[in-house]
Symmetry: C2
Subunit: 351 residues, 2 copies
């Protein structure tokens, strides 16, 4: 039987409330399917660790993580104690970048049992492929001048390689779905990097005419997400635009608490990282009401990535059944606790 070494980083806030509870669900699934065993290795690198050690992870942290089949992350950040740019760039974004997790894959779809903020009937099922390594999130920039004359500058940097990679991945994904790719742009306002993005995505599009392709400006795209979400299949977007669109997708599902994400390393050199879209939600920590569905659905993406599609489908089926049954945390209109939702998912999985 395969054994999978998984680095478990609960992180901060609700990450610590949820992640430890999710692991037994996966063990149970593994037992039922009998094809794999999980070797969980927990790393408590988070803002508490930072306050004790002055860094978000040990100096050899990346080395330690590299020796795993995947990284299963909760959430990072405790802004009241540690500035976001330290916690996020010292752990989350550091891992994304150093492990070349160049794509961030975030599905969203209407779920039975959750009241969406959209009118009934506005159902949807799309995946956002977010470029995860460059673009607007750069470390290049700074300030100049003083007092009233001070300015700040930041460079957005786009490479042909990264854009091509993201658009190609979107094409692959669309081929197994509804065969439609929409690329998010803003080339009418951002006139250097975005026309570059347009050109390259149009070039990739020409290679495969079986897929319908269009470019939409991010303002119109965000508006269309609200008014006609059913028209999207795969959306490919820059780091920033992908960030915005995926939080919108999460909101459209009814709560950021249910949305999953995969940070994919595609060259096979380092592990990929699986983390839900939600953050550490300091306001509800320790209350037992954090929604575990985002983390569970994220686990489904991890199982799929590791080659255990059957287990992944089994888990997603259980998630959807429990939601449809109405066992829900308060963020999606229920009264269940984190533990009660987990128990219901376990029961649904069977034995």
């Amino acid at each position: 039987m395969d054994s999978l070494k998984i680095a478990v980083l609960p992180g901060d806030g609700v990450g610590e409330d949820i992640v430890p509870d999710v692991l037994p669900v996966l063990d149970r699934l593994a037992e039922i399917h009998g094809s794999v065993k999980f070797d969980w290795r927990r790393y408590d690198w988070n803002c508490r660790y930072y306050l004790e050690h002055g860094e978000m992870m040990p100096a050899d942290g990346l080395d330690q993580l590299s020796d795993h089949d995947a990284i299963f992350l909760g959430a990072v950040g405790d802004p009241a104690r540690v500035p976001d740019h330290i916690s996020l760039w010292g752990l989350l974004i550091k891992i994304r970048r150093e492990f070349e997790q160049v794509l961030n894959i975030r599905p969203a779809k209407s779920l039975k049992g959750i009241r969406s903020p959209l009118q009934d009937g506005n159902s949807f099922d799309f995946v956002v492929v977010r470029e995860n390594s460059e673009g607007e999130y750069s470390q290049i920039g700074g300030r100049l001048g003083t007092g009233a004359d001070e300015i700040a500058v930041q460079n957005a940097v786009f490479t042909r390689k990264a854009i091509e990679r993201a658009v190609r991945y979107a094409y692959q994904l669309a081929a197994s779905r509804a065969k439609k790719v929409t690329a998010a742009t803003k080339s009418n306002g951002i006139i250097h990097t975005m026309p570059f993005w347009d050109e390259i995505s149009q070039q990739v599009a020409q290679e495969d005419e079986s897929i319908t392709f269009d470019l939409q400006h991010i303002d119109a795209l965000a508006a269309n997400f609200i008014t006609k979400p059913h028209t999207y299949d795969v959306v490919v977007a820059s780091n920033l635009f992908g960030d915005i669109l995926t939080d919108m997708g999460a909101a459209m599902m009814g709560s950021i608490g249910v949305a999953p994400a995969a940070n994919l390393n595609v060259n096979g050199k380092w592990p990929s990282m699986f983390e839900p879209v939600h953050g550490s939600a300091p306001d509800i920590v320790g209350k037992g009401i954090a929604n575990p569905m985002g983390q569970l659905w994220t686990a489904k993406m991890m199982l799929e990535h590791l080659g255990y599609e059957d287990m992944g489908e089994h888990l997603l089926g259980a998630i959807e059944a429990v939601l449809a049954d109405g066992v829900k945390t308060p963020d999606i209109g229920g009264t269940a606790t984190t533990g009660e939702v987990i128990a219901a998912v376990n029961a649904e999985i069977g034995s």
Copy 2:
């Protein structure tokens, strides 16, 4: 009686369908109120002009425009014939920049008679103050390298002056509204310009504690627009973030066709420009179904800006009454033509 010289630029597409029909409505209002006369001066600078003259406006175009009390614009762009960066940067953005229209004010609120894509009961009433002169929309950038190694770079540039100005304006506006300002940021991902934005907006916020202030990351803010739009009063945002949020606001109202905007010159040196949020909509040009409500509501903002609040309120009242009566173009679920909506507004205005 005052006489107002207004430069009328119908522009392209539905701009040409709508703008000429809106002017008589304003003449009628002026007649009723008896305090002002409009001196409309039409300038047909648009993509057709470009195809004939190689420029979007004559060399002395800005000079000609400067001699007006305001500019009333329809829409710009005909991407099938003229690349957007030429038409938009040659006319729309050129006027915004050269006339120092440094703020773009875009209100959005739930309207009776229009089915919103949001669930019933998600009502809202907010104004976005968009920084309109700098930020992500810069002319600084370019490309480097060839073939697979090609990259593109673009600088976002933020000045203390412009950020302060936008946040101060948001504060002024909030003082006459629900006393709440939300600043859109992304300082956890965009670590040079956005922390600068945060610092300055927090400094301005400290000057007036009667207003509730918070910073929200653009991803969360976009999600919250969908799930709890009623929590916003005045939102202040960078050029790009403001662009995205205002198209969302328009979509939430039910159609981009109803959303108004004002590009404000605040130093009194040049005219301000009033243009609806929607574009030239080449797909519906000439069909007589373009929604004139965005242009009419935009006219209301112009009247207000010129000091004729009473006329503005009268016009908005008529717009809301006609919508509530169900006289609507197809984009908002009706069957009326542009002309029928205009006629209904005229009738509602009275005589």
